[in-house]
Structures are given as structure tokens and as C-alpha cells.
Symmetry: D2
């Protein structure tokens, strides 16, 4: 259990960091939602604030006065058991409440939480717990803020720059090696008393066959070879559903790659740049990761293989697609009540990603962290590590 002091630090840092991420935005950038998977930045700001009002202040702050009775419901999300929600596809049509209103709402709620710290000599375990979840929840949205901002700007025909010096593409300067792992029983899942989500506990044994895993992520250069060798045109490399997808959506390269007069360029948060062949591949779907591995005659690791071997390689610049579907661990238990909707309800038709990315908030991932997305999604900083 986190201490009240550490929680204070976590809370203030987290709230500040969200606003730092949004600082380079114009007001207009906060509003739009170009596709359903992306949320407007103003929504992220409001939603992470609403979370603290709904689950902390309403319950733990005596005589708490809501900032605005009528408007906050707009920021509920998938927590369907708490009140009415705005249909997700409509988020991008809401010009009100304004961005200014949302920043006032944030300040008001942040201050009310800080008052809670001041006023209560000690926090109950439940309060510590919910506040900590609220901070981690906001950190998750920090990553989404960055990837959604990239989508919003990267799909604007003017391709505006978010931040001149955002480092998306850290080069891996070490040689490729295969790390071998022996057959046997391994333990999987979160251990210790640091923070975790409901989907990563239930520590349990799995039996693994021997395997080897690469110490290096696939680079743009390696993927370009796949393209140049007709990878997108060879039906035998693709899942049936993937084949339909690349053909109906006319997919022929990773997201954010632009072929400008024969030269490959890549839109980054620092603007349009020449494609760096040494940089780790990014913004590909599971479907593409799988087809690439097929083409190489190898495969993606399972999430268990990844977890067991992850101390043998560096990770953290890309969310790494695994072969594992996002299923419940043995003895998985939903939390009670609205928070219980948190993770279990997404455990179908998703693939697990492990690792973390250049957009992931500091200390917000770990070896047992299970991220997940639908197999066709590409707007996150996703990458490929091979196994065999």
C-alpha cells in the first residue's frame, strides 16, 4: 500500500504532467476527434478530472460541492454503470464546455483533493487505493493524449509540429542477439506491493517450451525490406481478416509513413522527417507484425515468453505486439462496483502488448503490465520483437 506522502507526490506530479503535455496545443486542437479511437484532448482533461470527483471527492470529501452539476457527465466514459454517458463517437462534436471551463474544473478538483490531503490526518486504505488508481488512470490518459495529439496533427493536411524536440525514435546501438530461455515452469503475474492493475495479478505458473527471443526491436529498415519484397501483396502471410483489412483500407505501409516523390518520410511529433532506417519500427498493427514475422519465418513471442525473458533485453520505446490474445489470468476477479468494469470487459478480440513506449509516462509500466488493443489499430507507438 502506497504511503500518504508518496501519494501526495504522485498526485501533484501527475496532475502537473498532464498540463505540461497539453501546453503546446492551440485551443482548436483540444476539440476535434478525427476517428472514433482517438479522443479530443479536452475530453482526456475532463475525464481524468471527473474520475477524481466521482470516485474520490463525492465519497471521501464531506460536504463536497460539485463544480458543475450539469456538465460533468459529459466526461464519463466507458464506465457504463455510473450515470449517462456521451456516445463515444460524439465527443468530437462538443464545443462546450470550453477548454477554459475544463481547466477551471481541473483546478477546482485538484485543489479539493489537496484540501483532502491537508484536512485528513490519515487516509483509509480504500482512499489511498482509489486515489492511486486515479493517478495511474491519468497516467494512462497521458499516453493517450500524446498518441491522440499525434493523430490529430498528423492527419491535418498542414502536418503541424507538436514539439520540436520530442524524441520518438531512440536508436538501438547494440548488435542483434538471440537470447535463449530453457523449457520449464515459470511464474507469471504481478508480485510485490507496488501498484498493479486487476488484469496482471493472480500470479500463476505456466509451462514454457524452450525458445529464443531477440534483444532488439525490428527497425524501419528491416520493415522496408518486407514492403519492397511484396509483403503486403502475399496473401499467404496474412490472417484472413487482415487480408480483407489491408485491401479494403488500402494499407501498404506503416501509419504515418508518407511516400513523397519516391522518398519515404515519417510524420513525428516533431514534424515530417526523412525515414530513419535505424529507428525502431513503429505504428504497425498486430496484423502487420504477424505478417512480417511470417515473412521472416519466425513468430511473435507470447506474453508469457516476453515476461519471462524481458530482463535479458532493453525495452520501453515501443509497445510490443505479442501472439497472446487478451484473456483473463486464472482466478481473475473483477473489482466490486463501477471500478470493476475496468479491465475485464475488454477481454475479447484484443491482443496483448508488452513493454512501453516513448509516450508512456515515467514509472507507468513494468514487466508484468498488460496493455491491449484490437489487432488492426495503429495509432499507438507499437513495434515488433521476434521470437523463434
Amino acid at each position: 500500500m502506497i504511503s500518504k506522502e508518496k501519494l501526495f507526490q504522485l498526485f501533484t506530479e501527475t496532475r502537473a504532467q498532464t498540463e505540461i503535455i497539453c501546453a503546446p496545443l492551440e485551443i482548436e486542437d483540444y476539440v476535434v476527434q478525427p476517428v472514433v479511437d482517438v479522443s479530443p484532448p479536452k475530453w482526456h482533461l475532463g475525464h481524468t478530472t471527473w474520475f477524481f470527483e466521482e470516485f474520490v471527492l463525492k465519497k471521501f470529501q464531506e460536504n463536497y460541492t460539485l463544480f458543475d452539476e450539469n456538465s460533468a457527465f459529459v466526461f464519463n466514459s466507458y464506465y457504463e454503470s455510473v450515470g449517462e454517458k456521451v456516445v463515444r463517437t460524439d465527443r468530437g462534436n462538443l464545443s462546450r464546455p470550453t477548454v477554459a471551463w475544463i481547466y477551471e474544473y481541473r483546478s477546482y478538483v485538484t485543489k479539493a483533493i489537496l484540501d483532502l490531503f491537508d484536512d485528513s490526518p490519515s487516509f483509509s486504505e480504500e482512499l489511498l487505493n482509489v486515489l492511486e488508481i486515479g493517478c495511474h488512470h491519468e497516467k494512462q490518459h497521458q499516453e493517450l493524449l500524446l498518441t491522440d495529439i499525434k493523430y490529430i496533427l498528423g492527419n491535418n493536411p498542414l502536418l503541424p509540429i507538436y514539439q520540436k524536440n520530442f524524441e520518438e525514435n531512440p536508436i538501438q546501438v547494440f548488435p542483434q542477439k538471440w537470447e535463449a530461455v530453457a523449457e520449464g515452469i515459470y511464474e507469471i503475474g504481478h508480485k510485490g506491493d507496488s501498484f498493479f492493475y486487476d488484469n496482471e495479478i493472480g500470479r500463476h505458473k505456466v509451462y514454457l517450451n524452450p525458445f529464443e527471443i531477440s534483444n532488439k526491436l525490428i527497425t524501419n529498415g528491416e520493415y522496408l525490406e518486407f514492403i519492397q519484397n511484396g509483403g503486403y501483396k502475399d496473401v499467404l502471410l496474412w490472417h484472413a481478416e487482415a487480408w480483407d483489412w489491408i485491401n479494403s483500407e488500402n494499407i501498404t505501409a506503416p501509419f504515418y509513413w508518407h511516400n513523397v516523390a519516391g522518398n519515404w518520410k515519417q510524420y513525428t511529433l516533431s514534424g515530417l522527417q526523412d525515414l530513419n532506417l535505424e529507428a525502431p519500427l513503429s505504428h504497425i498493427s498486430y496484423f502487420e507484425a504477424f505478417a512480417f514475422a511470417q515473412w521472416k519465418g519466425m513468430r511473435l513471442p507470447t506474453e508469457f515468453e516476453w515476461e519471462v525473458s524481458q530482463d535479458k533485453f532493453k525495452w520501453g520505446s515501443r509497445w510490443e505486439w505479442t501472439e497472446s490474445s487478451y484473456d483473463a489470468y486464472p482466478n481473475y476477479k473483477k473489482a466490486e462496483g463501477a471500478l470493476g468494469e475496468y479491465n475485464g470487459k475488454f477481454m475479447v478480440n484484443q491482443k496483448v502488448l508488452r513493454g512501453g513506449s516513448v509516450a508512456t509516462s515515467a514509472n507507468h509500466t513494468r514487466a508484468t503490465y498488460r496493455n491491449f488493443f484490437q489487432p488492426h489499430l495503429r495509432w499507438q507507438f507499437t513495434g515488433v520483437r521476434l521470437a523463434k
Copy 2:
């Protein structure tokens, strides 16, 4: 042909009026596009400005320097023969260029046109003509600005007020009468040398049967009776396509009507108000106008009947649906070049509306003006006048 002096006045007034209309908006309101038929206010501002840059300054201002070579193309619209256009459904996803940029663009172009007035001792007929079209084009967008703003705010769950005193609902305080028009040959179409659009000239004769037309628009109260008598449930009153539409869209009342705990309310630009039964009906589709007329055992007038009889009644608060499809007049000729796309390309699957509305710019309609929309659209201030 308009004189240079009158044109100067028209131009300055028009440019100012557009900005007056937008004054009550928050920046966020300029950005969103909740449905495809509505454009974001920032787009209207940019597009009306682009029109002057593209068709006037590029051609008539020597050595004109474009405000911004890269961005203006975003504001091209349906003029498909001039450059690349942004797909209309994407307009609501463009956070850049910003609203501030657009106001600078407006100022820059306005000033360049004013310089043109200063610099050129006399204007060619072509220049007078294109500038006049530009002003009327912008006046058309002024009406769309108001109706689109109403849509944007009226579909926000917070139902914000645009302007406390906007008068949407002028009461008709005179008694209903039937005006009779005799059988015979009548002349239809624009006459004289005031401004007109290509779709209203080609003055020509039509033969009309005797008819009577009401001096009064249908009121909310009369339409409420239709609803209460099951008008939306009687298939025999509706076109086949209309019946599918009201059922698939679940249409049971005019747009902007809200039944709040059994009481009918109407969202107006001044906010949510009790439904005024005396006010002229508004925001109904052609489909509903037709079904209402069927229920009354009458019909809508044709556009010719309307034009011939319009000096016998007051009009101007609602665009009045007619029975006429939007077809070309005999000898209709498209203008040359890009401006030629203007009206003819919409002459299919649309119904003609005559009159004008509370949102129509001053002096921007006339007895021969042909407005047109698809038969299911309702976001304009549309109303019903009966004939028999």
C-alpha cells in the same frame, strides 16, 4: 450593373456583418461539424475569404502575394475544378489553421480588396461582377453560419444560448385568408438589372391553372394538431421514401422540439423556450410539409404559383417548401469556368424553397430567388404555406 460606389458599401457591410454574426462564439464553437450538412464556422469564414482571393485578387490585383500558399486550399469547397478540396466530411477534424489565423487571413484579404478599390480608378464589368458575386456568396454563408451555429449549440447537451435576443419567431398578427389567382399565362424569372443567380434567369412564360394560396404560414399550434392526430403514424400521408426516413430516424416532431416531461419546448438561438403555438412552424423537412398538407386535404404551392402570388402575402420569416423539384429553367446556361459549377450541379434530388428566413441577410432574397435543399433536411428555418 452595380456601381463601384455601391459595391464598396456592399463589400464593407458584408465583411463586417459576417464577423458580427460570429462575435458571440467561443473558439471551440468555430471548430466542430456534428453532421455533414453543417460546416464549422471557421470554415465559413475561411471559405468566403478564399473566394475573394481565388476569383478576385489572383486575377485582378497585380503582383498579389497570397496570404499563405499552403493553407488556403483547405477552404475550397464544392468548386471541384479549382485545385484539391478537403473532403466535406473532414472539415470538422481540422484544428489548424486556427481561428486566429483565419481572422488574420480575412483582414489581409479584406484589406487587399479595399486597396483594389483605392488603386483602380475604374472597375471592369467583369471585376464588378465577380466582386458582387463574392459579396452575395458571403451573404449566403451568413445564413448558413446562423443555422449551423444553431445546430452546433442545439445539439450540445448543455443547450447553450447564442444570443439572448435573437428574434426567431415573429408572430403573424393578421387573420388567415385565401388569395385567389386566375388561370393564364404568367412570366417567371428574374427581371431588371439588380443582382441575381444563374438559376433564376431565363425569364419565361408558364401556364397556370386557377389556384388559391394562404396569406399566412402554418403555425406551431396547427402542426401540433397534426402530431396529436397521429400524423406521423399514418402511412398514407407520406412519400415512400419519407416513411422509411421517419421510421429509421425515429422522427416524431419538428427538429429542435423537445418534449420535456410532457411539455413541448423549442431550442432557439436564445436558448430553450416553451413552444409558442402562435409562432410560424419551423425546421421541418419537405417530407413533413407534404404530409401535413395531405392531412389538411390541401397541397403546397408550386414555385411558379408562389412567385406569381407572392405580392399578395407577407413572406420572409421562413423558407417555404414548394411542390417543385429543383429543375433548370428553359434556356438555363451555366456560367463559364469554375463559377459555372455554381448552381446547375445541384439540380437533381432537391426541392425548391421560396421566400427567406429570419436568418437571411438583409436584401439577400427576392421574389424570384430559388433556394433548394434535399427533401429530408431540417436544419434551416423552413416553413409551410398551403395552396389549394
Copy 3:
């Protein structure tokens, strides 16, 4: 009013002709519905029979016993005021009732009507009227049977032949001429006491400007020139809605034209044939007819111009698109009851076609006949005659 004797002849001929049309079909051909605008032949057979049972036998045959209480409802169509209907898009999924059942149903109903002729010494005016409508209704479906069969076979990858000698493409062996018609008042609409539909009466005066109309339909050769001159790629020739349509549907030639290794071929009811450049153009949409006329610098005639001038040229091999939208004539009145739904409910978003086609039943068209379809439809034998 038709006599009982003539009606007898009309009825027996009509019922026989429907079955002659279906004779070349395999049972499987009766069942499928490749697109929503096409109905399965078995449905046409059942529906035309149901019409006589519902509107004649139920009412005029004392103690009539329904052929099958449970199944006939399947054959109701757009007559929404009579009972439950099968959603139109589902017609192609109904394997039962079987084709054999439907032929028995036809025989049973035909015989019951013939008994009515035998048993009743004289027919009431109402009975004569409804029976006559039933026959003409079935004749309309005879044309649809042929065009729907063409669609079903012409969209089968095996391109089967319907009938070796079906003459689709009668050549016009006379030279092209422009027939001039003087300005003035003309009378429009059905006259006399032969059969007519509700949409063509209300004979009334119209005023026409002087015009010229071609004595010849446009040929495949002339249209091929339009294609070869880039007609499908010049946005200025097309309605806005048409431009979206040809691009989203990838339309580059008339329906049933196939470019096989550089040679144009045409699927006909007699199978795939070399494109005959002298044959009248066929299977084009209104959108294409309009664009072609634009390209020629001419226009399509209005339906009034067509009706007034039709005795100056030969017609009957193609339904000729006109510029006229399908609106009601002055004083148009719907019939009472279910038959009243007949035509008026389609008077929106349709264009009028005049003439008749190689698929039209004998004596089933006339100079005042108003056919109508949506502007994008092409599966009928539609053609182009120009005016100027």
C-alpha cells in the same frame, strides 16, 4: 370503360404472357435477388397473383376460399396499408413457398377469376376497373421480369443466355433530323377513355418555348465517343451527386458493357455480344444521360416537350430520360384506399422517363405514359434522345 369481353381477352393474354416470359428459366433463377432494386422472378409471379386475390377475389367473389391463408402475405409489396409486408431486401432469401407452389397459386387464382367471368352476367364498373388495373399491373411486372432476369443472369459469372433470339437492339435505319416545335400553349396528359394511371391524368395546359428535338436515339457509337473523350473524368459535366456516384461506384461505361481485352462487348438477353455501334444506347442512368447531353452542348427534353413532339419521331425501344422531375400534375388526386398508394408516394427524388422499351409489354405504353426511376438506376432499358 373497358367491356367485359375485352377484359376477358386482356386478362387471359396477360396471365399467359407472364408465364411465357418465365418459360426459359431454371428453378434456381426464380429465387435470387442480387440487388435491392431487382426482385426474384418468383416474387413477381406471386405478387401479380396476390393482387388479383386481394383486390378482386376477396371482394367480388362470394365465398371465395383463399389458396393459402399463411403464405400469400409474402407477396404483398409496397402497399403498406394492406397487412404486413416482407422487407424488400429479404425477398431473395425466401426459398419457400416454392416455385411449384407459386404456379399452383397462379392457376388457382386465374381459374377463380375465370369463374367470375362465367358466373357473373355483368360486371360492375368497379370490378371492371380493378380487374383492368390488375392486368396492367401485371404487364408492368412483365417488363420488370425481363429486366430483373437480365440482371440476375448478367451478373452471374457464367453469363448464361436467356433466349437466343431476343431482339434488344433494333437499329434506327433513318437519318438524324431535328424536329422543330413552335412556342405556345399545349395540352398535356391523358385524354380519351382508354386505360391510364392516376399520374398521367389531370389534362392541363403548359406553355412551351420553341425547341428542337432529335428524331433519333443516341447510339452506342456516339456514347463511345463520349467515353473516349474523357466524359467520365470531366467534373464539369456532372451533377455533384452524380460525380460522387461514378467515383464511389467506379462507373466508367454503361451497365452490361464489358471491356474484354480491349474490345467492347455487351451482355444481352441473348448472351454476350460484340458492341453494336449502330444500336441505340441502353442501360445508362439519368446522371450519364445528362452528362452526355452537357458534353454535346445540348440537353434532354422535358417530359412536356417529349409528349408534345412525340408524333414526329419513332419511339418504343428505350425508356427515354427527360429533364423533368417526377412531380404531380396540377389537380393530381390519389385514388381512395390501398390502390391510392399507387403512384403518388413515389413523387420525390425521381426523374420521368417517356417512351417504352424492347421489354415493355404490347400496348402497355402510350404518349402520355409517365415512367419514373431514381437518377442513378441503370438496370432498365434506358436511352437518350437530345433536344436543344
Copy 4:
């Protein structure tokens, strides 16, 4: 490896059985495809025949003459690497080739294979192998034939009977018990030299936690309780995707259940019957199976738990949804060439089902057999067994 003698018996039995299944059909029933997941019976007949022609006769029969060069391609399916395929959604629009043609095609190919048996003194291992796969492939389609026929007839408003005595609902006459399985390492996957698919080999160890599994399938009565307790209305029981699905599709009961005037009935292959509360539940999606288990406070077994414990209970009347996503086994290898597309390409967004159903062909399932469907599909005979 199967012997030539056994293969002969397998082949003749299999071919005969397919035709026995189709015997009760009318020709019309062979043609239609009411939804994309269902194929027309004529397609199943043609496809299973095409398989033998394509993969056996073309390769192993010297001088084999194709039955029909032009038509057989219609029966290719998802084997995208062999020739052109008919888009799956179009299968229901193909009236030709006819059913009679297909039966001739079947006879021709069956005879050619029998000739192969006669002519070749011994079969190569490869030939034995491909022929055996062809037989099992056809057995798979036998099950689909039954479930697709049920869909075709069960969605016809006349609800025709397929076969008076088809036994869909075998009652489980024994008491419910929980079978306990101890923690430990277990071996999973096919063993021995009988027939298997590529997805079930790669026998490997897994580590299982202790669990209990029911010896009995959930009954209609138990599921009815779930419905009556508001199971379909409690968002907390459902996956997010499932909740959207039941709401958009208006799902409130298992497929084929009909509430007739307050009484639950079930369409079966023997026609509409009163719902038997003792019968095993059937035709539910994974989404519903999961929600039901949540409501019971239990869960579905994983496919490994099922395989390890299956000798402790009776199975075979329902395909049993498991919690396991359909992922590859360790060391899964695709076969070479076109047959290699067989199973691997579906390993995404599917859930594993274990067991077998009343529609499964004799000897065509086993303890290691991995069936799979998308989580929303319900037209198969699917059921629920709980674990905890």
C-alpha cells in the same frame, strides 16, 4: 497413416452422407444465403467436390479431364492462393450453375476418385493424406450444411420442417456434479496416428491450477432464469463489445427462441416446438455464454481444462464455448501450399469451442479437436458448461 481400404470406406460413406443430408431439400432451398456466415447448400455440395477435383484429381489422376473448365471456380472458397474466388457475400446470388449441374459434377468427380482407387495398385502417402483431408473437409461441411439449412428454413416466415424426427435436444438424465482436477503439468494436443488438423498438434505441456468442472451442460431452464432475472439488461455482466452487440442487434434470448403470446417456443429442424426446459441450451454466442457464467459467479473452462477433464463427463451434443482465444499452439506450423491456409489464417478474434454437436458427423470430433467461431455467432449448436 490410414490404409487404402479404410480410406475407400471413408470416402464412399462421406460422399453418400452429404447427399442424404440434402435429400429433404427443395431446389429453392439450395440457392439462398440469408446472411454472410451461412452458405447456400448448393455451394457446400459444389465446394466439397471442387476440393477433390482441385487437390486430388488434377494432381494424381493422369489425363484427368475437368468436368467443366469455366464453372468450377465458383466453388473455391477461402483458399485465396488457388485461382479467383467468388466474393463470399455473393454466393447467394448465383442461380447458375444449377443444382442438377452440381449433382452431375459430384457424380463425375466421385466416379473419377473411385476409378483412382480401382486403377492404382497402391496409393502414395501424399495421396492417402490429401484424400483423407478431403473426406474430413466434407464432413466439416456436413455439419455446416445442417446448421445452414436450419438458418435458411428457420428464418423463413413459414418456418418449414426439415425432417420430422431430427433429434436436436437429447436430455441429460443424470444429476449435476462438480468434477475436481488437481494442479499440475498436463499434456495437450493430438496424439497417435489417427486423423487430426494442423491446429491440434504440437503436443505440449501446460501448467494448470486446480479447478472444478460440471459434468452437465446448462439447460434451457437455467438460461431462462438468467433472462427472467434481467441478465440481458445488466451491463456489468457483459463485455463492452457484447453490450454494444446485444443493444444494436436487439438480442434478448438465444437464437431460434420465439416468444409466442407469452410462451417460449424454439425452432428446431423438426419445426417449431415448445421450449423444453430440460434440454441443453443451444444457439448462444460466446458473449452470452460469458455473461451467463458471470451471473452464476462462475466461469467457462479454458480449452486446456476442458481437454484434460473431458473423460470425466459426457459431451457431444453441443459445441462448448471456452474462455480460450483461438491462438496457435507452440511450434504450430502451417502446411505447405494452398492447404497451408487451412487453419492458421483464422487465428485472430475467434474463441475456441470444444466437444461436438448433434449436427457433427459421426467420428468427426475428438477430445483434442479445436473448433472456433467469432464470439457473436449463434447459428451453430453451441452450449455452455461451467467451471470454477
